[in-house]
């Protein structure tokens, strides 16, 4: 089947303004959107660029806007769209565009880094594993699905309005360590996100949860952080 792809193009060396370029290609209904982009690049225009690697929704490289919706190009198939012969492909919003569909991700990873995304536990290391119940491990399971694709943060209306807001992805990482039974810094972690730029910035608009390609209940996890902050304050 013939399909038209209208793709956002921007080359900082040449273009003053972004432009849209149309490509007509043959597609199968079972093709991934990424397959279509690869086909365009291989057969028609090798100058078109985007990030992609694993091609099955685990490395988190290829989040973009497909027909107005944020998604992974390797996880969405042609048949998933009603307008299967007409696609509009754009870069993730929120971030600066470097070239075509490639955006500047540094601000995203700086926020990730801010939440101290590593286990803090200065107790002497046991000879074997630290014990953790299956239930405790399950508490953080939703956050372990995160592939750092930035879909949630780039969709978040608060992140768009407040550049200082940590955003859903970084808060989800905070959640992952706050609720890890092996971590000993829960108190200071909660204090760190107890602000309007932290957990309270979230106005439960659910956009993050809607777009997450891994089905993570991001908004709920942030809600759990808020409750934990309140509980900690009551105890004080």
């Amino acid at each position: 089947m013939k399909s038209t792809f209208t793709i956002f193009r921007f080359d900082p060396a040449v273009d003053k303004q972004p432009r849209y370029q149309e490509y007509a290609i043959d597609v199968e209904s079972t093709d991934k959107i990424l397959d279509c982009l690869n086909k365009i690049r291989s057969e028609q225009d090798p100058t078109l660029v985007y990030r992609a690697s694993c091609s099955h929704g685990i490395c988190g490289s290829d989040a973009m806007v497909i027909n107005g919706h944020i998604g992974l190009a390797c996880q969405k198939l042609v048949r998933d769209f009603k307008t299967a012969n007409n696609f509009v492909i754009e870069p993730l919003p929120l971030f600066n565009v470097i070239k075509d569909l490639i955006v500047e991700m540094d601000p995203f990873f700086e926020k990730h880094r801010y939440v101290r995304p590593y286990l803090i536990n200065d107790d002497p290391v046991p000879k074997t594993e630290r014990l953790q119940s299956a239930g405790e491990q399950k508490t953080i399971e939703p956050a372990l699905r995160c592939i750092l694709c930035a879909s949630c943060t780039s969709s978040c209306p608060i992140s768009r309005a407040n550049p200082n807001y940590l955003g859903p992805a970084a808060l989800l990482r905070a959640f992952r360590y706050i609720y890890d039974s092996r971590d000993t810094a829960k108190g200071s972690r909660l204090a760190q996100v107890n602000s309007d730029d932290g957990a309270w910035g979230c106005k439960t608009m659910w956009w993050c949860t809607d777009v997450c390609p891994k089905g993570i209940p991001v908004t709920k996890c942030i809600g759990q952080i808020k409750r934990a902050i309140k509980t900690a304050e009551k105890k004080r």
């Binding site: 080359d11 090798p46 990030r51 685990i58 198939l77 399950k138 953080i140 890890d180 092996r182």
Partner: protein, 575 residues
């Protein structure tokens, strides 16, 4: 632009990051990667990491060692395999201490499950040895190690593409790299370089590998004079999703999944009566294709069914989450109710840059080190996997030898100064890039790439034969000639993927040639290398590693290296 570090690590997957963590406290170390660190292909590993913890049932490292030796069809070096099996529990506990969120047993220990070829008491029955975090084990280990590196303040050069190794008087003194965002050439001067660049599955049409798996590190090391070892051994994982190659973890069978032919028969019972569907990957892949040849593929086509319908919600919902989603997303199959269509997919290279058990790259059959050059992970051949790797031994390999690389490099960098780097390197590399960019080629990059992938898929996959191998070698050599006429269309300097694709194809063509030379030379069937014209293993002639070194004048030179046998004498391999 010039940089100086004690150690440059190329590749930000598990081997590279584990080495970085080992060195990070007291050495100047930088990690260079052509993709952002967390996009590395280690993250696609699903099923688990093998270690004889004995958390679920009795186990010990010696059984693990034996299984690995037998799985390797006796081509693995037993001294190195012993190191790996012995180190394994410590490596896994260390990961747990760093924060890796493993699934847990009812008493709070790391949970383990069965995997192909892993047995108790030297082959008596399947044993639960794979430590796992659902079916995203690689991803959570990758995240944890990367985050540990952030904590340690390790310097990353993300989206930098290695161009060449700097070798002077036989010593590696750093590398040159291309910054993708700007097109600038960078010179990295270092006392040691660790190559941890992963595999090269993209040489084949159907693969579970990422777009980035183009074997750059191997090809660049090969061009710099390092021999490649056992490159003819390429693992085809039995259960890739039909046509797509997306991996359905062996964990699916470890948790009780069953392969069935068009008659609904559990055919693996016939081929491997003891461990059935949990036979090693080379065997299962061959068995699937035998069924297909006998007309027992589903609907007469070249795939079979992986049946998980009997596993129950607890297993599917908690341990096989990702693969259930893959089946739903990509082939519209609800694996709770219907079987998944599967066929073998190119998955892993047992071969690689020849190293010793301390990750030192070696240049000959006497294990003479290549000073300053190290390799670990899939791009290296220690060899712990021999002719066939067992499932859940690859993550283990990356971590055991990544760590050992770190330890060895620390010793090395404290014993030596910075080697000198020629002053005109930046100009030289820039001239090479300019040459490629200015060339107006008559050949299309995309079609050359596809031709290579088809030739290799058709002739160098599960079954091989002299005639078709020779034809394939001719085709690859022809493609190499045509490659000289490929032009780069994109003339820009910002994220010029076209230029990088061109470089990558050059790497893959070199490697394809080496794979074919090895496959033609090895006139026997061993592990993943199955010759229809030589169906038996021939220990008398071929119980040896294949080494291919690139000579600037004479081209590829093949020689062999003896296999180290310590505890287990080669025997017939039955399961």
């Amino acid at each position: 632009m010039e940089h100086q570090y004690d150690v440059i690590i190329v590749g930000a997957g598990l081997a590279g990051l584990r080495a970085a963590i080992e060195l990070g406290e007291d050495s100047r170390v930088a990690v260079l990667s052509k993709v952002f660190a967390t996009r590395s292909h280690s993250g696609a590993a699903q099923g688990g990491i093998g270690a004889a913890l004995g958390n679920e049932e009795e186990d010990n490292w010696e059984w693990h060692m034996f299984d690995t030796v037998k799985g390797s069809d006796y081509l693995g070096d037993q001294d190195a395999i012993e190191i790996m099996a012995k180190d394994a529990p410590h490596i896994v506990y260390e990961l747990e201490h760093m924060g890796v969120p493993f699934n847990r047993t009812p008493d709070g220990k790391i949970a383990q499950r069965a995997f192909g070829g892993h047995t108790s008491e030297f082959g008596k029955a399947a044993v639960k040895r794979a430590c796992f975090a659902a079916d995203r084990t690689g991803r959570v280990i990758l995240d944890t190690l990367w985050e540990k590196c952030l904590q340690r303040g390790i310097q990353f050069f993300n989206e930098f593409h290695m161009l060449s190794l700097i070798v002077k008087e036989g010593r590696c003194s750093g590398l040159t790299a291309y910054e993708m965002a700007t097109g600038k050439i960078h010179i990295f001067n270092s006392k040691a370089v660790l190559l941890a660049t992963g595999g090269a599955g993209k040489i084949f049409k159907t693969t579970s590998n990422a777009l980035a798996s183009t074997g750059d590190g191997l090809a660049i090391a090969y061009r710099a004079g390092a021999p490649l070892e056992d490159m003819e051994f390429i693992q085809f994982h039995p259960t890739g999703i039909y046509k797509l190659g997306i991996l359905i973890s062996e964990a699916a069978r470890g948790e009780g999944g069953i392969l069935r032919n068009s008659e609904g028969e559990r055919f693996m019972e016939r081929y491997a009566p003891t461990i059935k569907d949990l036979a090693p990957r080379d065997m299962v892949s061959r068995c699937i294709l035998k069924e297909v040849r006998e007309g027992k593929g589903i609907d007469g086509k070249d795939y079979v069914h992986l049946d998980l319908t009997h596993l129950g919600e607890e297993v599917i919902g908690e341990k096989l989450v990702e693969i259930i989603e893959f089946a739903k997303t990509y082939v519209g199959v609800d694996a709770r109710k219907d079987p998944i269509p599967v066929q073998p997919t190119c998955h892993y290279m047992m071969g690689g840059i020849a190293t010793d058990a301390d990750a030192r790259v070696i240049i000959d059959a006497e294990n003479t080190p290549f000073p300053g050059l190290y390799a670990a992970g899939e791009c290296a051949c220690v060899s712990v996997h021999g002719a066939n790797r067992l499932g859940c031994n690859s993550l283990l390999d990356t971590l055991v030898f990544g760590r050992r690389a770190g330890i060895e490099m620390r010793k090395f960098i404290h014993s030596t100064g910075y080697p000198k780097v020629p002053s005109d390197l930046e100009d030289l590399e820039a001239a090479k890039i300019r040459f490629l960019m200015e060339k107006n080629g008559s050949e299309n990059l995309g079609s050359l790439q596809q031709e290579l992938q088809s030739v290799m898929m058709e002739n160098v996959s599960v079954f091989r034969h002299k005639e078709t191998l020779a034809e394939a070698l001719e085709s690859v050599r022809d493609l190499k000639l045509r490659y000289q006429n490929v032009g780069v269309t994109d003339k820009g300097s910002c994220f010029n993927r076209n230029l990088l694709d061109t470089l990558e194809l050059g790497h893959m063509l070199d490697l394809a040639e080496v794979m074919l030379l090895g496959a033609l030379h090895r006139e026997e069937s061993r592990g993943a290398h199955s010759r229809e014209d030589f169906p038996d293993r021939n220990d008398q002639q071929f119980l040896a590693h294949t080494m291919v070194r690139f000579d600037q004048q004479k081209g590829p030179q093949l020689f062999t290296k003896p296999v180290t046998i310590t505890r287990f004498e080669p025997k017939e391999r039955k399961y």
